[in-house]
Symmetry: C2
DNA sequence: CTGAAAGCGCTTACAG
DNA sequence: CTGAAAGCGCTTACAG
């Protein structure tokens, strides 16, 4: 109701002039420094703010305070549902704490990660949330500098750092149990080639458990690809070509299971009757359109809260804590 | 290799002192104002920048220039794959043009949309990309103020504005053709209750085409719910209870089709043999795990480029253009 | 209870 | 080719 067409935006000075007080006073009131200020002045300033249509300019505040309310999240691959769930919940938790999240898509590339880290530093962001980070030169510098960071899913590639994620070894073991308890003995694993620590731990947990159960041979296929969907398809193809269709396949992620499913369907293999698929992640879509998939469920929509808590720890210099999130079957 | 542990970051002044020149000179060189400057000075400054580990502080620049390189995208519901695809492609296009995107999740709520619009203005963002915006008080003010905006998918709720989206009426008509050409005559539609213009147009296009083909009765179910998945499930339930299972169902979005699929499966109805489902959006996941769904494909990953182009138009005062994106069958 | 003043880091006309 | 200076909007010790 107040704004003028494209005129210069109102500043503290505008308000001060309109209210007949100093900008210091306006600043205090804007910032809720209400305890020392006469009720009358407060009222006059509030009115002036409404009249001139004042909105604070964070560039000024950031410059002065040498810190902003911005928090950067760097994540690979926005269209991965796991990332989307983490991003959505973190965004909500940060907003509740009075912060604004900047979401950067690194495409899992070290060069883009570095570009964004630099860009975010230039924005004077207050913290960095690294989801599935990748080793890179600038990241190394940031860690060495003690930049406030929380790592999610993948552990920090350099030194120590706050971390939120699940126990992937345990998750892998439970995937093994799923297949075993269904009576399946000849099972294989599908994974991305040169996977992250997440992949490695899930594989390790699975294989160790299987061996503990007495299974000595665990056929494995690793493939490269632009997405886990393609990786799953290709890895399943390699495995089927080599060992035929096994009774069960443990897929390192649900998306890999989707890829394997497609090949099975195209090959006339019934899932889960002829070949059972087990995944990890618990994509919420499963119960709607992939009822054939059993999966170790991870509640990524619960990650936001602990992520923000750990960031708070780091800000207060309380060291690098960890939050190992629970997971279940689904 | 240069950064010190948590010391104050280097500023232009630091560099200037180290290089023995004025901060004006450093500023020019940092900004590539290289034409007027001796090669020797440039070299000296470059060296000093590396030595002190200088990185620009955008708060200072923004304050001075009264504009930033930040662009805000406000979108409902980050975990909707349609939004994810639009966000990812826009982010890439903006980055290529030298901007940084801030992604805000409005949860389709007017109050959050307003909160974010205000917050983004405080960040001095240079433009606003409103994906599926909702009518709200602050949005109205922004539009009246002539804030640089591009609307995506849903048309601007107030006045005129730049727009990127598809021809939803045509898409609805083509969905009708899909069912008709498969020989199906008794078909219904599933939609969200109180849908947006997108929903209305898709419905309108579908019904008009069906009527043109001689179909007089088009059973329709509209349901409310937290997600299109639930809406699809519930709408299908209502329709089946009222009219039994029809030969075909046109679902206003793929997610609605997923919901309907779940009910069909639970009801022992074979899809697509007994009941054919047609959706709109062309979720890339379909070819992997939902081969039973035919869908009008929209290339949301192509939206980023035109969105940034229109933003550019607006910035240069070239008025409010539109880009109607193509769609196809899939 | 309130204000004058310094200064955060940067850009940019202006002078030389 | 380079620099001194003003000023963007804000916060905050300090003085009163």
């Amino acid at each position: 109701m107040t704004s003028k067409q494209r005129s210069a935006p109102a500043s503290l000075a505008t308000v001060a002039a309109a209210a007949g007080v100093s900008i210091a006073t306006v600043s205090r009131i804007v910032n809720g420094e209400t305890r020392r200020a006469s009720a009358e002045t407060i009222e006059r300033v509030r009115k002036a703010i409404a009249v001139v249509g004042y909105h604070p300019n964070h560039a000024g505040r950031t410059l002065r305070r040498r810190e902003s309310r911005l928090v950067a999240m760097l994540a690979p691959n926005l269209d991965n549902p796991v990332m989307a769930a983490i991003a959505a919940s973190t965004e909500a938790a940060l907003r509740a704490a009075g912060y604004v999240m900047i979401l950067c898509d690194t495409h899992d590339r070290p060069d883009l990660q570095d570009e964004y880290l630099n860009a975010m530093r230039s924005q004077v962001v207050r913290g960095y949330i690294m989801v599935a980070s990748v080793p890179s030169a600038v990241l190394k510098d940031f860690v060495a500098d003690g930049a406030p960071m929380v790592f999610v899913n993948r552990r920090p590639p350099f030194g120590r750092g706050a971390f939120v994620g699940i126990d992937n070894i345990k998750a892998g073991a439970e995937a093994a149990d799923m297949l075993w308890s269904a009576g399946l003995r000849r099972c294989g694993v599908l994974a991305p080639a040169q996977g992250s620590s997440v992949t490695r731990d899930r594989l390790k947990g699975f294989c160790n458990r299987m061996r503990a159960l007495g299974v000595t041979e665990i056929p494995k296929a690793e493939a490269a690809g632009r997405s886990h969907l393609e990786i799953g398809y290709e890895a399943a193809r390699q495995l089927a070509a080599r060992d035929g269709w096994l009774e069960g396949l443990m897929c390192v992620s649900d998306q890999i299971a989707y890829g394997a499913y497609r090949l099975a369907r195209e090959s006339g293999i019934l899932v889960p009757e002829r070949c059972r698929l087990v995944g990890i992640d618990g994509n919420p879509l499963n119960r709607w359109i992939a009822p054939w998939l059993r999966s170790i469920e991870v509640k990524y929509e619960d990650f936001g809260q602990p992520i923000v808590e750990l960031l708070d720890h780091v800000w207060h210099g309380r060291g690098h804590a960890e939050r190992i999130m629970p997971h279940g079957e689904a």
